[in-house]
Each structure stands twice: as structure tokens, then as C-alpha cells.
Point group: C2
Chain length 204, copies 2
Amino acid sequence: MVKNSKEAGAEQRILEAAKKVFMHKGLSGARMQDIADEAGINKAMLHYYFRSKDKLFEVIFKEAASNLFPKMVAIISEDISLFDKIRKFTREYLEIVIENPYLPLFVLNEINKQPANFHAKMFGAKPPDFSLLVKQIDSEVKKGIIKPISPVHLVMNMMSMCVFPFISKPMLQIVMHVDDLQFRYLMEQRKTEIANFIIDSIKK
Amino acid sequence: MVKNSKEAGAEQRILEAAKKVFMHKGLSGARMQDIADEAGINKAMLHYYFRSKDKLFEVIFKEAASNLFPKMVAIISEDISLFDKIRKFTREYLEIVIENPYLPLFVLNEINKQPANFHAKMFGAKPPDFSLLVKQIDSEVKKGIIKPISPVHLVMNMMSMCVFPFISKPMLQIVMHVDDLQFRYLMEQRKTEIANFIIDSIKK
DNA sequence: ATCTTTGTTAACCAAATGGTTAAATTTAAT
DNA sequence: ATTAAATTTAACCATTTGGTTAACAAAGAT
């Protein structure tokens, strides 16, 4: 009855292995044999289930990106106050990235290597759109609730502080003398820290 | 009399070509033939001047990193007020990255792929050390000049806001509807914008 | 039970790729 | 001018790598 492998079906095992290998080595750095080994199956199986390396990569990449963007857009589209939105966005985004620390670098890398294809392939008709948030910020500035600030800069700042520490973890660890445990703790703190930092800056 | 190529010596041309190709495609994505073509010379020349692909890459990488880190350390080691230091760091760092927009992603990528080798290979005995800045921040907090904030978070925030926009440029352009010219202008603004944003947040 | 479809494997293949070599060309030294 | 050293090139080589094939095994259908 032990079908073919440890537990899950072959296809699932391949996907998990591919994710792991692609995330760490990138498209060009990954070897089909690495993925097969990681999945504990024959290399030909990769081509049996997914026709080619590129096809397999596309599956992994789409799943990765669909893990990042929709959530983002959902939060910024909610009808809540700006401060609450900032708090919610930074908290929930941190939670996602803490669970998938390699995701951002992986996605950003491939976007940078294929800026053309990416846009169309990734989110065909409806790309993530931050203009709602931008309008909300503009509105709050005009109403005099927050200090004057360019919405684009504010959004950039927010996203930067959420994502960058994970991308630069090894470097940060060196220059800031932080070990893995401390890093984990710091990221936990940032779930509230970032929002406080931003709000302190823009509130009147 | 036309020595061997357009103008510079072969070695220099190789270095420029290698930099360009490695920056865009990474170590594993770059092909020696690509570099040779880009430099307009025979592939064997690459091995004549630099023994192997790895050796050539190491030269490029070290030059890239040595372009990023020492400047960073120099500024944070200066004996000036915290606010001035924040202003100077963000401005000068932005200037470096504006001139070398692909540098950060390139360096961070390779650090992430070789965390072990990197540390030793990159800055042997004296790694960049931010503890001076950390102490200065701690001191200003205790003296009551700025609000209480964890120095590590503050430094992370500052670096994030400087570097991340360049790493995520293609994504930002999509979600924020920004073209190349606007992006360039935004980055110019950030030379002062980031410091203001930080100082507004931490000043009392 | 037999046949058919699906899943799996080892062996193989062609192209790509990093690297080498030996000859040719250029430059510099005597 | 002659010789020696440095530079450059085309042809080659060995390995790696994505991908294919044909045989085999397992499962389902009849």
C-alpha cells in the first residue's frame, strides 16, 4: 500500500523540492538533478509531471508570488483608517515574510531578470494597485490629519522596512552582531515597531 | 597602431564586461561567452587574464562590495551629531546607489548564496561594524534627546529605506505607476526625504 | 486472468559550457 | 634585424546539464 514514496504523491514531493531548490539557488543556479535528489525520485519524473525546467519554475514562481501580492492588495483596499491600515499591513505582512523568509529575494530577483515577461505573466489583467492607498494618504494630508508627505515615499518606506531585513539578513547579522535567535525576535518586534515608527513620523 | 580594441586595454575591458554581465545575470546565470562578446574579445582571453569564472567573479564581487561598505562605515564612524549622521548617511548612500542601481541586489544575492565564505572572504579581519552608531543612538536615548527606540531597529529602518527601492524598482513601478524618469526623480528626493522621515519619527 | 493505462526507472543523447592548447601575431628588448 | 616575451585566436576537449527513450512495474478496467 505504501504507494510510491514517503507520504505525499510524487507530484507534491516534486513541488516541495523544487520550491526549496529554486528559492535557494534561483532559476539558473538550480539543477534538475538537485530537485530530483531533494524529492528522492528519478530525474525523468520531473519531465513527466512538468514538461521542462522553465515550466516547473513558472509553477513555483507563480505560487510564490500569489502568496505575496494578493494579501498585500487586500489589506490596502480595506475601508479602515490610515493608521489602522498601516498597523495591519505591517503586522500581517511581517507574519507572511517571517513564515517565508526566502520569498522576497526570490521574487524580486526574478522580476529583475525578466521585467518584461513578468508583468503580463504574473498578474494578467489586474495588477496589484496601490493607488487607493495613495489617495487615502493624500486625503489625510489635505485634511490636515497627518504631516505633508508624498504618498509614494510613504508607501516605499513602509514596504522597505517590512521586507528589506529579510533580504539582507546575512549582512545585517554581520554588521549588527545578531544571531539567528535574536533576528527572529527582532522581526517579531517589528510587527508593531514599524507601524509605530511610521506613525510617529507622520502624525501631527 | 590600433592596439587591440576600441580604447582601453583588454584586461580593463574584460572587467567592465564581466561587471555588466554578472550584475544582470548573477554568477550562475552569466556565461563566459556572454562576457567575451560584451568585451569584444576571444573567450580564451578571460582565462588568460583571470584563471577561471569563479576567480573573475570574485574580482568583480570584491570591487562591488568594496564600493558599498567602506563608505558606509566611514560615515557612521564620524564624530558628528546623530541627526547630522543620519542626514549624511542617507544622502551619501543614496548617491552611491543611484550611480550603481544594480549593486545592492547583486551583493545581497551572493551574500545569501554563500553566507559562510562571504564573511571571511569579503572583510577578513575587520568587518564593518555598526556598534559605534548603536552606542551613539543608545546614548541619545538615555540623554533624552530622542524618543526611546531600539538602535538595531533604527539602523535597519534607515538602511531599508535607502536600499530597498532599488532592489524592488520593477515591482514598485508596476504597483505605483511610476516610469523611469519619475523613479529617478523620486530617488533624488529621497536624499533628503528619508532623513526627514526618520528624524520626524524619533525627535521629541 | 488479461489488457490498458499510468507511473517509474536506467540508460542514453545532444547541446551548452568552462576550460585548454598550440599556433599565430604583436610588442618589447638586444 | 633578431630574438624573446607577451598577447590573441581558432580549434578542441571533458564535463555538465536539460531532456528523451524504451523497457519495466503497478494499478485499474474489462
